[in-house]
Symmetry: C2
Subunit: 250 residues, 2 copies
DNA sequence: GTGCACCATTCGACATTATCGAATGTAATT
DNA sequence: AATTACATTCGATAATGTCGAATGGTGCAC
């Protein structure tokens, strides 16, 4: 591990949490002399990875990250294949749909198709959500022992009154999730919002992502037809990725 | 400039262009020994900034970039203020709208509101477009001498038959753009697609972004009413940012 | 099925390079 | 106008990343 790159990445992570920080605050965060941090920040700035705020002298994340992330999304085969199926999913169910993958124990959303009404909705692509409190996360955990071991070893954060924070309770859902190829989450992450997810597998039979629909709590539970459309979507995407069979075998 | 960070950023830039590269290819691109590149790539990988493809041993950009970019977008005051006005703009005009800022001589789109029909549309946030071939770019050039000097000094790439590649022709549009607080682009970037943009200013009177509508070529030119709604949108966003007057003075 | 070739990866000596503390500059605050 | 709290610059030092050679692994061809 190259020291200065490690430090640079940690600076980006700090800015990710705090939005705007001065050299001194970053130096305190890394426990390094300000001059050292300054050199690293200036190097990042030269590449547009951080920018200095127009007024004041604190630093924040830079636009180069947006450009890089846009290319990252383009490299994802799952996403390209999933997009049209997800649009169809949202159209048929009238619900927002999400596509997520695992990254460092969390779920990161790599696509989002809005609910098909004309209300204003936040773009959710790029958001990260805790694995244990999302339907997508539960799917990914249920199909990967090592991922599950990783996540369930750490303490699970409480997001709402209904968040499952007991590893054993969570683990007990996994067999059912694998049986139905379907996971649910009922106001466990956000009050008033539930979701349901299904696994997506690639040509090697590996679960590489999960697709979900977001259901307002007052429409819970969804009709059987809705769940079937979701499963159908996951199967169609999987088939496009070269999967021979669906649901995935354990 | 710290050497290893500079090299790391260049590796990210190479992957941005080429999607998937092996250590050897990266080493050739940077003209460095493979072992040196390997050390840098592994450091980036440890932080999720790059990932190794599941099968094969090439590397590609990683999910950490997506998470970082998501936070970057959240830090942008303009974007937060612009979103609801842009949704209104798209609703009233029936057209897709875009919000862009300047970065390293290019335009980078920081928000996108889809056309309000149920067709499938690519999310465009994060895309970069050449300044000289976009309405947003023309606005940002027209209001910033130093930015214009920068961009127009370099050769201008041809994107369609109608792309303006002569710096003088482009420069001659600037007074009109400033007079009307409105720039247009007619199939100069993408065949079949035109656009029209207006400047957004902040509390200091600086042009910090531009908002645009995307117009199918067969609907060109747009009605005067459409242009007025666009200008109104830019004014409303500017006012929320603390601007005292609009259009911006030169 | 075996051997070959290519490429990623590991390792350790070396000197380049980042680091750090002190000095300087800058802007805001009283 | 003086003071404080920053960011920023500079140069000596040795810690650090770099590089070439050796190793390991994987896929392809014969």
């Amino acid at each position: 591990m190259i020291q200065s790159i490690d430090r640079a990445a940690k600076i980006l992570a700090l800015l990710q949490g705090a939005r705007r920080l001065g050299i001194g605050e970053l130096a305190a965060g890394l426990q390094l002399p300000p001059s050292t941090v300054h050199g690293i920040v200036k190097s990042l700035q030269a590449h547009g990875l951080v920018v200095q705020e127009a007024v004041g002298n604190r630093y924040m994340l830079g636009p180069a990250l947006l450009k890089l992330s846009s290319v990252y999304l383009d490299t994802l085969d799952v996403r390209a294949r999933a997009m049209r199926w997800m649009h169809e999913l949202s159209r048929r169910t009238g619900l927002a749909s999400r596509l997520g993958v695992e990254s460092f124990g969390e779920v990161i959303l790599i696509h989002h198709d809005r609910r098909p009404d004309d209300t204003e909705q936040m773009p959710e692509t790029g958001l990260t959500i805790p694995s244990h409190a999302s339907a997508i996360g539960k799917v990914l955990l249920a199909y990967s022992d090592e991922h599950a071991a990783d996540v369930l070893a750490r303490p699970l954060r409480n997001l709402t009154a209904d968040t499952l924070t007991d590893p054993d309770k969570l683990r007990s859902e996994f067999p059912l999730i694998r049986r139905d190829a379907l996971a649910t989450e009922n106001e466990e992450a956000v009050i008033g919002e539930s979701s349901m997810a299904a696994p997506i597998i690639d040509g090697h039979g590996e679960v590489v992502a999960a697709v979900a629909i977001v259901i307002p709590a007052n429409e819970w539970p969804p009709a059987d037809a809705t769940a079937n459309i979701l499963r159908e979507t996951a199967r169609n995407i999987s088939r496009e990725l070269g999967a021979r069979s669906w649901p995935p075998s354990v």
